[in-house]
Subunit: 321 residues, 2 copies
């Protein structure tokens, strides 16, 4: 099947949602009715770096590519829009597998009211999926960057951490059978972008926000650097996903290494003034996500990972590459 036939076959799988799309796939460019501000991020995932086809189905790859891109919009508090997608397929990549990949992406798009607006298909040395996610907000004052944390703010995180890293250990067969193996593996292969939570928490007064893709420690550092303050994380407060402790023990690791050092959980890490706590908790409840207070912003620079006992945790070797 040639490139044009393949694109036509993908178009059959895609549905336009909402009323913003004026001109969809099939022309030189797609056309979308804009709102006040466009929020845009581009993310690429490639075989061997962000996934392997040994541990991911094509549908997992499609899901992951779109999910990790949408997660950036969640972290800004923006509504998801109409991402175009570039698909680099290795020579001879199975057409059915390529359709499964697009279908996996479309299934996630459907759940979030997102329209995949055209794209590009090329032949390349390995499988790479690039999603340019676009989103919209009427007032840019509603967006939350990495740069708004103030000394005195509290630090919060949605959901639970470490599940993706534990799932990867399971998929790589680095631990003997784990009780929650399937749940953890799914957590790694099919991360869920926290779009509803991101918008709700932005509206509730978050001062800085980032998605936990590089790992809690690194992402806290991004907030600290961009905001010009110090972020203190109380490691005992870390919400650790269920099943992670078992996997960590089997692998000879501390669960905190997986929850704070490894990445790809795609939860949201945020700061807010202490008086916003009740509003944040109500917003999280409305979005049906757990919300845990796990530290604060202080005057200073860098990050501090603190244990009650005053101990330190070695994250080296578990920081996301």
């Amino acid at each position: 099947m040639g490139e044009l036939d393949l694109i036509a076959s993908f178009e059959e799988l895609l549905e336009a949602r909402g009323d913003r799309l004026v001109r969809g796939p099939g022309d030189d460019a797609s056309v979308v009715r804009a709102r006040g501000f466009a929020v845009t991020s581009i993310d690429a995932v490639t075989d061997g770096t962000h996934f392997t086809l040994a541990t991911h189905t094509p549908a997992d790859v499609g899901h992951k590519a779109l999910a990790t891109a949408l997660s950036d919009l969640a972290a800004m508090g923006a509504d998801a829009g109409e991402p175009p997608v570039a698909l680099a397929l290795p020579r001879g990549f199975d057409t059915g597998a390529a359709r499964e990949l697009v279908a996996g992406m479309e299934e996630l798009a459907g759940r979030h009211g997102v329209t995949i607006a055209g794209g590009d298909v090329i032949t390349a040395a390995s499988l790479t999926v690039t999603v340019c996610v676009t989103g919209w907000v009427d007032d840019d004052g509603l967006l939350v960057g990495r740069d708004g944390a103030q000394p005195g703010d509290e630090l919060w995180v949605t959901g639970a951490l470490g599940g993706s890293a534990a799932g990867l250990l399971v998929l790589q067969e680095k631990v003997p059978s784990a009780e929650l193996a399937a749940e953890l593996a799914a957590r790694h292969r099919r991360p869920e972008p926290q779009l509803a939570a991101g918008a709700a928490l932005a509206g509730a007064g978050a001062s800085a926000m980032i998605d936990v893709s590089d790992g809690l420690a690194r992402d806290a550092r991004h907030i600290a650097e961009r905001s010009g303050c110090r972020i203190v994380v109380e490691l005992e407060q870390l919400p650790i996903a269920r099943g992670v402790a078992d996997v960590a023990e089997a692998a000879g690791l501390d669960p905190i290494q997986l929850a704070a050092g490894a990445g790809d959980d795609y939860e949201l890490l945020l700061t807010a003034p202490p008086d916003r706590a009740p509003e944040l908790e109500r917003a999280a409840a409305r979005a049906d996500v757990a919300l845990t207070r796990l530290g604060r912003a202080e005057a200073g620079t860098g990050i501090v990972l603190r244990t009650v006992a005053g101990g330190t945790v070695d994250l080296v070797g578990y920081e996301h590459q």
Copy 2:
């Protein structure tokens, strides 16, 4: 140099232009003040398919990636906006070369008032540059798609054709020294997106428009298919770039094979009602591009490549892959 340091080093090379960019690189997403309609296209170029590092400098690659993406906006008649860029670098790719690539892209961006708004850098099997070009228009009625050609419309093309294909033959050393070798090679390595011409021709009444990336014959077919009409091309009218005839002769080819069968010239192919001819010609003169009438749209389907003598030209083997 790690990925984050590399991104920081790229950010130093990039300049924000105009007043639309509200939040640039360094956050989860860039934020841009919108106009009425967003016009978006994603384009990827990869080593071995769209260029080779044997014939292209890193700066050529950066230029080409952005130019081919911007060309899609030119073909819609949209103003260029703030494209994000995803850079997939092979392991061990030289940092200086990566900076040259970004600088080559930035140089073109500067000439067209475009702001490169952040991006993603990953390690992959081979060099791939993906540009998600965004553009803006206040009124979507001003955009020109591939689907607006009507029987009776005339067919026009900007500039001259075949230069890129002849340049590739020169770069591949498939012809002995050609007189205009350097000019033709530059034409292949550094195509120029016809943004000013596209906007001017859209305003002058073009009914359908496409950029000549797949080759004139194929791109005429795209217009025919999307518009539901037949496109007739009078091959004797083809504007052939200077130097192409020499290279074609040396390679044992007909110049028309290079001008109509090969692609990557990034000129604009358009249709318009005959009474718009004077306005189109004035628009082209204002944008400082040649404009040649080379056929028409008729009732029917498909394309006809016609010679005065009634002969046919074999384009097989020269259609763009």
